[in-house]
């Protein structure tokens, strides 16, 4: 399947492409919050006020792509947690008001499929609609779903595919309890060289128009795979089989795009298990721009495609031809996205 269009709302100024032009923001914080566009240009104020951040960012990243690529055949979203802020607001009401009379807005907004549903309503899209919530593989699952839907159609078919995750005070607290964050303000410019425990939380919405039509495509997503709870040996074996299935060997991969996040306990998967398999490949990192969150591999794909389009200024990296994007979360769920530069094929 082919990437025809893409958009990102992230802690960098990706929404207006100044990030790509070379203005990388330095962020010193214990969490990296999104730089959001002025949504009022395309979302009515009344509706915008009722939207939680995940839905707002998702609509903000999704609607412009739908509008400039209509008609689309469906909407497929990956989000581990959906609108958590709304969710815990509703939960707090339940506890604080002892299950009294509650307003439904937070409840309806909190369901992870609220975004795909809202996008369908706003664009009157009655096509295939699905939301994947498989933790840090939710975006990879959305891609695999899209691949299946596209493969069933002989006609030119296109889907809006995206991922969204928000930072709320609540999930920040929960993940802090679970030992996932550094806790102290950390500069994104030194995040990846940090060796302490935990990472820095990020957020964002990243959307793509994916199609089975190669005309004017920016890149080709050749294949996607994933595994949960592998041993190092199982992960290595899986990578070899995955490349073989796509008629590639490790030397064909000229770029590996890794999800290093500065967590001293877990970056060995990138550095010691996967990197040595690709001695001839260059390495790209991306979490120093946006932090870590469950569906952040969608930003990894965005960043890779922007590289392939030569949109990333001030880079010493070669333009990728065959890139393998690898991300894991907690060392538990591992996802791989194989991307090919369409212009080189």
């Amino acid at each position: 399947m082919f990437v025809k269009d893409l958009y990102a709302i992230s802690p960098q100024s990706t929404f207006n492409l100044t990030f790509e032009a070379g203005e990388v923001l330095e962020i010193v914080a214990d969490r990296y919050l999104s730089h959001e566009p002025n949504y009022l240009e395309f979302i009515p104020a009344g509706q915008l006020r009722r939207m939680g951040k995940a839905v707002r960012m998702g609509i903000g990243a999704g609607l412009p792509l739908i509008q400039r690529n209509e008609p689309l055949d469906g909407i497929i979203i990956g989000s581990a947690n959906g609108g958590l802020e709304d969710c815990i607001k509703f939960l707090n009401q339940i506890v604080d008001y002892e299950e009294g009379v509650l307003t439904p807005t937070n409840f309806v907004q909190s369901t992870p499929n609220a975004l795909a549903g809202q996008l369908a309503i706003l664009s009157t899209n009655s096509g295939y609609n699905c939301t994947h919530t498989n933790g840090s593989l939710a975006f990879e699952n959305a891609l695999i779903d899209t691949q299946l839907q596209l493969s069933q159609s002989a006609d030119s078919t296109a889907f809006l595919v995206g991922a969204v995750e928000e930072i709320s005070e609540y999930n920040y607290n929960i993940d802090t309890h679970a030992g996932r964050y550094k806790g102290e303000a950390t500069s994104n410019s030194s995040l990846l060289s940090s060796k302490t425990d935990g990472t820095i939380c990020g957020e964002g919405a990243t959307t793509f128009v994916l199609t089975n039509n190669s005309t004017d495509a920016y890149a080709e997503i050749v294949d996607v795979t994933q595994i949960t709870c592998p041993t190092k040996e199982e992960l290595t074996e899986m990578i070899h089989v995955f490349l073989q299935e796509n008629n590639l060997n490790t030397e064909d991969i000229d770029t590996i795009v890794l999800g290093n996040n500065g967590d001293g306990r877990l970056d060995f998967w990138y550095n010691d298990v996967v990197t040595p398999l690709f001695p001839t490949a260059q390495t790209l990192h991306y979490k120093q721009f946006v932090g870590n969150y469950r569906t952040v591999s969608a930003f990894g794909l965005y960043f890779t495609v922007q590289h392939m389009r030569r949109l990333i200024a001030n880079t010493s990296q070669k333009r990728p031809k065959n890139a393998l994007i690898y991300n894991h979360f907690d060392g538990v769920r591992h996802g791989f996205i194989l991307v090919k530069n369409s212009a080189e094929s």
Partner: protein, 398 residues
Amino acid sequence: MEKVCITGIGAISAIGFSVNEQIDALRAGRNGLGHAKHFQSVYAQQLHFGEIDLSDEALRERVGNLEAPDLTRTSLIAIHAFQEAVNQAQLDQETLSSRRTGFISSSTVGGMCYTDHLYNDANNKETASQFVKSYEGSDHTLQIVRLFNIKGFTDTINTACSSSANAILLGCQLINAGKLDRVIVGGADCLAKYTVNGFNSLRILSENQCAPFDANRDGLNLGEAGAYLVLEKASIVGDKPILGYVSGWGNANDAFHPSATSDEARGPLLAMNAALNVAGLQANEIDYINAHGTGTQNNDQTESFAFQQLFDKVPPYNSTKSYTGHTLAAAGALEAIFTLSSLMHQELYPSLQVKETISDFEFQPIKSFQKGVALKHAQSNSFGFGGNCTSLILSACL
């Protein structure tokens, strides 16, 4: 295109702890709706629920006292049903761990079922609870992946009340595309303050036993269930018994309202037609419908309208939510299993609590238990918040 065979089913709900116990209740017309015994809420004695009559401790014992302190009720229910399904399909450890075996689950409340623990952890009230890593919607999936050492494709879907119907749909497509040889599909949801208060805030919960397709229906009962099916491609089934086939699937969005279906049933009709198209069937070849039938004014009116539009003569239909309540993410898989039971045993179960049928339509749901009915193809519908509509077609292995 290879046939997608069903070789194992497992379910637990308010009407039984195993598939067979639930079939007995369906035959006897015995619902599981009442006030809550185990679920703690100010609404426990006020509303009707489809509660599984087991405490968390009893559930934990029944699944074999697993060495995992962080299993929520959602996970325990899921594991209970999963074990039954994989045992029936005779999946050994090597098969379960094969890269050619997938697992697609679904849940709406997921790991958020212990509202009070979550409240404390999210608001930094005290030291972390043992569930601090278990709140994600996909936690129960991960627990099963760990316990059963699953190494292939895994997914969790949340399209609200159509979630596990979409798990079935995706599983069928993965087998069809040759990506997997077999896949375990389904979902689990348990009663939780979160969902009960959510639905209550929308004022669609009934204080009585729910009465889908009754003229005076006044809302739904929330239920809890876990339900899984083992799907295998025909060429690897061997001499194992085939229980039936999934022969059609369709997914569409109503694109109308976040929590109501359109009067003209756009999404439901698109999904039903898509499923017929995949199955290569005409509407008049459907012998039975397991309706979404929640018992709300909106759903049952819209769904009946869709039947009127789709069928020249509406086939026998019921809502098995009149037995189990609305089990949310689990409903699609649970009702696919009940549909399969009708096909396997060539019998129809009555839709309960119907006193007066909806006057706009001349058809009415199944009134009594019927044996020896010729059933070849059946439709099972699931519609959810966010406009998510999915229709499945199951076929008998005769």
